[in-house]
């Protein structure tokens, strides 16, 4: 394979890249994946549950939790706690510099690491169903087989029989993870007070996580060590790197690490020349490679830049979609000062939906987490007391806290991406802002959650309702949307970029709209669908 021209070149090794690769590889096509492929800087030093790491009287624990370079001390407040964990420091490193990015009103999130942002994924895995496909040129049925294939490969734990099951989609599931006591208490009360809760537009159920509960040959089931935020020791939480490793065992798949693709140049006779920089050999000239078909899976920002470049759309602002988000903290008074659970799963516990009463796709969706995987010192920054008082309060509150994120549809914000070149090289500006409708939605969500959860015994912590900075979750999509009505930068229903035949946008860039649901599983399923479509075309 190494000596032969690849049938398809995939740019990017994240969830979309590997999801597109599998159908192609299984169909016998020769696939070359180009990726900068940055890996972790340091191996983990300590094994065992978080409580052991914090309590084992080991002076090296600070290296594990804050990092040798103490990156975990970062003063900036992060929406996703994983973003400041030293273990994941490598994931976003170099992203902004590589693309010459600047931001206005958004936080830039992206990755040049092998496996992309999936290395620090929150693992929430939800299908789009029914009305979620409003504005999509594909129907739910078209994505069904792809959702199932991806869910099977990734390994998703959850349940099929609660109030949210149909809303979260029909996919193969592994048995659910055990619930934290706080979440279990909420869910138990919800069972008996459902009617009252539904009057607030609120529906509650268990969340679904891309986390194994059954061992696989290359990954183990969750060991409930509460280290989810700090780097799973068992590889139970999905990362696209596991798929890359598995793909590399296939004879017709090659991964070229250290390759940062700078340009895709269309050739007059058809096909493309890819210019990529070998980042392992700085100072050397760009390497060129001929490609008949290209799949863009470099993330919505990276893929948009490559497409804008190839189409010569420099200097023109192109729309990009952002996912407006908010966060809330709830306290269960009955659990204040209670013993922390020795073992458990420290990511998503429950999921909820809040209907706004309008169109069926107009809803907020969020996941409820336990707070026991967090450090108390992170919490003290949010408590308006002196540090000693905040520390005592945080210690008492941690076992009683539930933290909820919440997303509303992408039409509550607007964003653009603009690329241009000058003598200094390439520049890209990403701009975004929340629209006035977001404030209305924020107030609605806060009202529904505070009233609904109060009925379940969890009370909104005063001052804890926060608007998240746009982009801080990494949910950038829609730069090359699949549109029935063509626009300048868009793709067909088959994912083919208009104006660039045989170039396919397979990552989040191709989604035309976001509902409140986290889009990762849909991005993966859509990549799988586009790749299957290409296989069909080629075999025909």
């Amino acid at each position: 394979m190494r000596d032969l021209a690849p049938d398809v070149v995939i740019i990017g090794s994240g969830p979309a890249g590997v999801s597109a690769a599998w159908p192609l590889v299984e169909a016998g096509l020769k696939v070359l994946m180009l990726d900068q492929g940055r890996g972790p800087d340091v191996p983990r030093r300590i094994d065992g549950p978080l409580s052991h790491i914090l309590w084992q009287q080991d002076d090296s624990q600070w290296r594990e939790l804050l990092g040798e370079a103490m990156t975990g001390l970062g003063g900036a407040r992060h929406t996703t706690p994983k973003m400041k964990v030293p273990q994941f420091g490598y994931v976003q490193r170099g992203f902004e510099e590589a693309y010459g990015l600047s931001a206005d009103g958004v936080r830039l999130t992206g990755s040049l690491a092998l496996g992309g942002l999936s290395n620090m994924w929150g693992a929430g895995s939800f299908c789009y169903v029914g009305a979620d496909f409003t504005d999509y040129p594909v129907a739910a049925e078209a994505l069904g087989p792809s959702y199932r294939a991806v869910a099977e490969r990734v390994g998703i734990s959850g349940v099929h029989d609660d109030d949210l099951a149909a809303f979260l989609g029909e996919v193969p599931l592994q048995p659910p993870l055990p619930l934290h006591e706080n979440a279990a208490s909420l869910l138990a009360r919800y069972g008996s007070r459902r009617t009252a809760i539904e009057s607030f537009g609120l529906t509650l159920g268990r969340t679904r996580n891309a986390v194994l509960t059954i061992d696989r040959p290359d990954r183990s089931a969750c060991a409930l060590d509460k280290m989810c935020l700090w780097g799973c020791r068992q590889n139970a939480i999905y990362s696209a790197t596991y798929d890359v490793t598995a793909l590399c065992r296939k004879p017709n798949f090659v991964l070229r690490r250290g390759a940062f693709v700078e340009h895709i140049v269309p050739l007059a006779q058809g096909g493309y020349t890819l210019h990529f920089r070998d980042v392992d050999q700085p100072g050397t000239e760009c390497v060129t490679l001929a490609a008949a078909r290209v799949m863009l899976a470099a993330g919505a920002i990276g893929s948009a830049i490559l497409a804008i470049d190839a189409l010569g759309l420099h200097g023109k602002a192109q729309p990009i979609l952002l996912h407006p988000a908010m966060a809330f903290a709830f306290v269960l008074p009955s659990r204040v000062g209670a013993p922390e659970e020795e073992r458990g799963f420290a990511l998503g516990q429950l999921a909820y939906r809040i209907d706004f009463g309008g169109a069926p796709h107009d809803y907020a969706f969020g996941v409820v987490f336990s707070a026991e995987g967090l450090l108390a010192s992170d919490l003290t920054q949010y408590i308006p007391l002196s540090r000693p008082a905040a520390a005592a309060t945080a210690r008492a509150l941690l076992p009683a806290l539930l933290v909820a994120n919440c997303y509303v549809p992408s039409d509550c914000a607007e964003g653009t991406i603009t690329c241009w070149r000058d003598s200094e090289g390439r520049h890209t500006a990403v701009r975004g802002r929340l629209l006035p409708t977001f404030d209305k939605r924020f107030a609605q969500v806060r009202r529904s959650l505070s009233r609904g959860f109060a009925r379940l015994g969890a009370y909104l912590l005063p001052g804890s309702a926060k608007r998240a900075e746009l982009g801080s979750d990494g949910h950038y999509v829609g730069a090359i949307p699949m549109n029935v009505e063509p626009r300048v930068l868009s793709s067909t229903v088959d994912g083919e970029v208009r104006g660039l035949p045989h170039v396919f946008a397979v990552d989040g860039a191709s989604l035309p709209r976001l509902t409140g649901k986290h889009p990762t599983l849909t991005i993966m399923a859509n990549a799988d669908r586009i790749a299957r479509g290409l296989v069909e075309r080629l075999s025909a």
Partner: protein, 136 residues
């Protein structure tokens, strides 16, 4: 401007004051060194201009520490250093008992400490307001 050995001594005093304040007892030299190392890697070279009383009795920091969002540049600096001190304390051997729940702490003791800490904050509030007014 403090340089060389003098700067090291100033950082030492600052480390001792802030760590004692959040830890509630004298910090070890290992923890103080770690604090100084953290200032270096975080690019926090300038010594905090702490009042002599706060250096002498770190508990008095309760009277000048900003509550909630810091507003002035000096408050921002103090809040940032306190965040560093808090994180170092929590991830240190000696701070584990203070910030996380040790096996032998009762629930009553934990909740009791919250009330004591809140009471101290309440008592210090008028002095905090007075200090702010005099500061203006």
């Amino acid at each position: 401007m403090v340089v060389g050995r003098g700067l090291v001594d100033e950082h030492e005093r600052e480390a001792e004051a802030l760590l004692t304040y959040v830890l509630g007892c004298q910090p070890s030299s290992v923890l103080k060194n770690r604090y100084r190392q953290a200032l270096v890697v975080q690019g926090e070279g300038v010594v905090l201009n702490l009042h002599a009383f706060a250096l002498w009795c770190p508990a008095l920091l309760r009277l000048i520490e900003p509550r909630g969002e810091p507003r002035t540049a000096s408050q921002v600096s103090l809040a940032r250093r306190l965040n560093i001190a808090m994180a170092l304390v929590e991830t240190s051997t000696e701070g584990v008992d203070r910030m996380r729940r040790p096996a032998n702490s009762t629930r009553l003791a934990i909740v009791g400490r919250v009330f004591v800490a809140l009471a101290l904050d309440l008592v210090s509030l008028p002095i905090l307001v007075l200090c702010r007014s005099l500061g203006r």
